[in-house]
């Protein structure tokens, strides 16, 4: 069912990326010399100790922030030097975010939260409704469409966030410690949801601390002090074994 990645062009292609933060008199080199290719349908985990630059890398992939140096192609198009509005438009179409703290908008109910990216895409209301309902069904939140975030459990909130990330059919889903604020049972549920989506063909890039979840991904990138130090590829069969274990 899945295509061989070698025959495809990468979704993400980063060459020699460097990122430093400055301000308040502090200079931090958060990332340097990053070369990264991610292919369609891949499930990648970014691992490493706290402060090594995982979130920073994810924010660069997601165009929340721009790199200080280096080239970045998303779906074959150069996105290294876009202005804010162009980046917004690309984020909207190509990228789905899942945050550790869910980042749902408190004043909007589940349906409206999930609908939001489509509103920004100017999708007609009727189509929006169909797509939102479909994606909520996929994450098992059809029953809670009219609820507000405060009326949901953490796991339900995160599932809503996953639905919101999926609704635009993005090229890649970025998840920064999606289980960080959840207890292990809820965390497991989210991880299996991501796994299911991966099974359905989604490209996912995950940051996690929790070694238990590293093995869900078929590819692990290890960061240390802002550099990629190693990479493990897990065979699909092993991955499935681990999961059932």
């Amino acid at each position: 069912m899945k295509n061989k990645k070698q025959q495809l062009s990468p979704v993400i292609n980063m060459q020699n990326i460097q990122k430093h933060f400055s301000g308040n008199g502090v200079e931090t080199l958060a990332l340097s010399g990053i070369n990264l290719e991610i292919y369609p349908g891949e499930y990648t985990a970014i691992c490493g100790p706290s402060g090594c630059g995982k979130s920073t890398l994810l924010s660069l992939i997601g165009l929340l922030d721009g790199a200080s140096q280096g080239s970045y192609q998303l779906n074959g198009a150069d996105v290294s030097s876009l202005n804010l509005n162009q980046r917004s438009a690309i984020r909207n179409r190509e990228i789905g975010f899942i945050f550790q703290n869910f980042n749902l908008i408190g004043d909007l109910n589940v349906f409206k939260n999930v609908e939001l990216p489509l509103v920004y895409q100017s999708v007609p209301a009727k189509e929006r409704k169909e797509r939102v309902e479909a994606v909520l069904a996929r994450v098992g939140m059809s029953e809670r469409m009219a609820h507000f975030p405060t009326q949901l459990s953490g796991g339900q909130q995160q599932r809503t966030a996953v639905a919101r990330a999926l609704v635009t059919d993005p090229a890649i889903i970025l998840a920064d410690e999606p289980t960080g604020n959840l207890d292990s049972e809820q965390g497991n549920a989210i991880m299996s949801l991501l796994d299911k989506l991966h099974g359905e063909g989604a490209t996912i890039c995950l940051v996690t601390h929790d070694p238990r979840y590293n093995n869900y991904a078929e590819r692990q990138i290890n960061l240390l002090d802002g550099k990629i130090i190693s990479e493990n590829i897990t065979d699909s069969s092993v991955r499935l074994n681990k999961k059932s274990a």
């Binding site: 924010s59 929340l64 917004s88 990228i95 945050f99 980042n103 004043d107 939001l116």
Partner: protein, 816 residues
Amino acid sequence: MIDSLWQDIQYGFVQITRRFKLSLAIIFCIALGIGPNTTLFSMFNSLLLNEPAVMAPEQLVSIHKYRPGKEGLPTFTYPDLVDFNDQVSQLEGILGFSYQSASVSMPEGPEMLPVEMATSNFFDLLGVQPLYGETFHRQTSQAPGSMPVVVLSYSFWQQRFAEDKSVVGRKIKLNGSDMTIIGVMPADFTGALGAFGSKMWLPMVMMNIIDPDSPARLISRNDNWIIPVARLAKNATLESVNQEMATIDSKLQAQYPETNEGNTHRAVPYSNIPFIPETARSMVVFGASLVVGLILLVACSSVAALLLSRATERRQEISVRLALGAPRYRVVRQLMIENLMLALVASVVGFIFSLWAVVVFKQSLPAEIPFQLSLDPSLDANMLLYTLGAAFLSSLLFGLVPALQATKTDLFSALKEQPQAGGTQVQSSKLRSFFLITQFSLSVFLLVIAGLTIKGLHNSVNINPGFDATNLLTFKTDLSLYGYLDDEKTAYSQRLNHELASLAGVESVVISRTPPMSGDKTATLVSSFNEAMEAGEETRTFYSIITPGYFATIGAKLLRGREFTLDDQSYLSPKVIINQAMAKTLFVGTDAMGKYLSVPSSDDAFEIIAIAENIANSSIGSMDEPYMYIPLGQRFDHGLVYVVRTEQDPALLIDNVKAKIAELNPDIALNMIETMTDTVSRSLFSLRALAIATSGLGLLALLLATIGTYGVVSYSVKLRQHEIGVRLSLGAQPRALVFMLMSSGLKLIIIGCVLGLGLSFVAGELLSPMLSGVGPRDPLVFILVPLFMLSLSCLAIYFPARKTSRVDPMLALRYE
């Protein structure tokens, strides 16, 4: 597009109702800021912008008369008007009118009411039809008194005749003469100038019942008393009219060089309020707009500061939207729609506020104005546009900067934050400081202006006017209007004088042409005679005509000499009393007593028999003007004022005085019967109105600034709750924390005060000449205002700071 706008509106509605307290505070502030603006505009609107309800008002033009070295004014002499109207072909015609007042018979007795004298072409040229009956038209006979008819205004008809349709053909008494009511005008017709209406219109030829001097006025080319309005002829333009008017002017100048030399008439665009010179009008409009504009600015910066604080709280929401791919303009638009919705509600509230304010303003107008001011704020197209414009402008003023600021966040860090967690840096503090400083400096500025005006008012009230204003009653009657001849007038006055003096509670009665503080002034030129009876240089002086016992009755002092006696009333040896100021200017270094004065209109030499102390003859500000008093018999005039000294409260005698006069002649209406204390307070009307307006606006600004400060401090303190919890858990003293939280706010307030005082120095220079005894840097005002400001704003900062510093540290930390 429509769909997405609708989404924004819906979301705005959610936000507004969710943050109900904040929304209310914003609406309240903006409504208070917009209110004075809509009030002022609705007044301008009904005074300046409303077109009169006549046929094709766009064809109307005003005509200004230019005299050498003077600004053009819409005045005409009657003969000039007739000549122009006959000769000009580029105009359909020129109509003229004049505001007068007349004693009108009313069910409760005669009453002085504003009436409008109009040329016979008035209604035809305006192209208006009566509601009932007919109007008067151009007539061949121009003989004075030949058209004893009136046309009633709708409001007068309503008020006096209770909308009785059979009133046409009935008679009504004006100044004792019977006039036939020939018609009633529709409700929206107020005359040729929108807001300045009348109770009724009379043909110009009936001027004789209004003004005994009218025969002379109707032929004088010197007496400019008619307001002209003209209608353009077909295809005529202002230029073509003015070309033609210039030729007519030169003809008239050649024909009447003595009166018309140098005078020109020019058609100018129609104005609703032509008799106030352009420069004065624009100054008033500018000054008033500036002050109310400042209020709106204070309100907006208050709200802007609030929104900047709020934006910090909303950072997460906005970042999520941006992360999901909303273009920045969409988010800005969404925030602005929310702001616009708030501003719209606020401007509706402000408009309601202004309806109320205009009613209050109308009630506080002095009763005696010679026209009927129709100041009825209504939501017409102008008003609607203005209100919408004000809402739009203020939402831009208070919302745009915070919205731009809020959408400029660093997404990466904003999204990492835990909602509600502490550690959020209080953002955009520079901008917020700017807004806080702005509102404080403007408030100080407005309060200082208010303080200076109040002090000026206070001084004026407490200046000794040089006479005793308590227990004095004055009223005016004009016997000439009721057909009395000169001898009869004297007889009547003497009889009235006698009857009044014998009323219980009356001490004495005198007559004066212009009693103290009346605001009226009559000037003449005089010169002193030297020993050789050679007249010296002429100087301008003011004068009044009085009867014996005047100074004793009003309680003023004669420094030298004596009062007039009945003997002084004869023409044989004219006598005069002058005031100190005149003695000083006319008789430098010599004793004025017993010297003689020459008065241009008289061949006689007037002997000075007394020197009176300076008193406030026309107003408080006129104390030091040269003034002279002439006995009544020597210069008889019409329109005299009776001054009655009473034993007790003079207001109690008003009914008795009215009854006495009705006994003598039931047609005579008393003009302006009032106690001297009321006269004095009326003379301070404009100063008092200014004091009330500026202090009201100043306090409003202060209130707004205080709300703004309180809101901003509450928000930023709330955002620092986590930090404060940490500090408290580490053992910080709550008192020290209060001080820490207050100090940054206080710094801004002090900067604002200093800037405001700087602005006020400039305003002080401009204001102090208008205020008696107030220096431009009045120390009391300049110290009290900032002190007051500081203490109030300390409270506004103190309460939120204290509340936070008392919080349970565990509670503050638990947010993590």
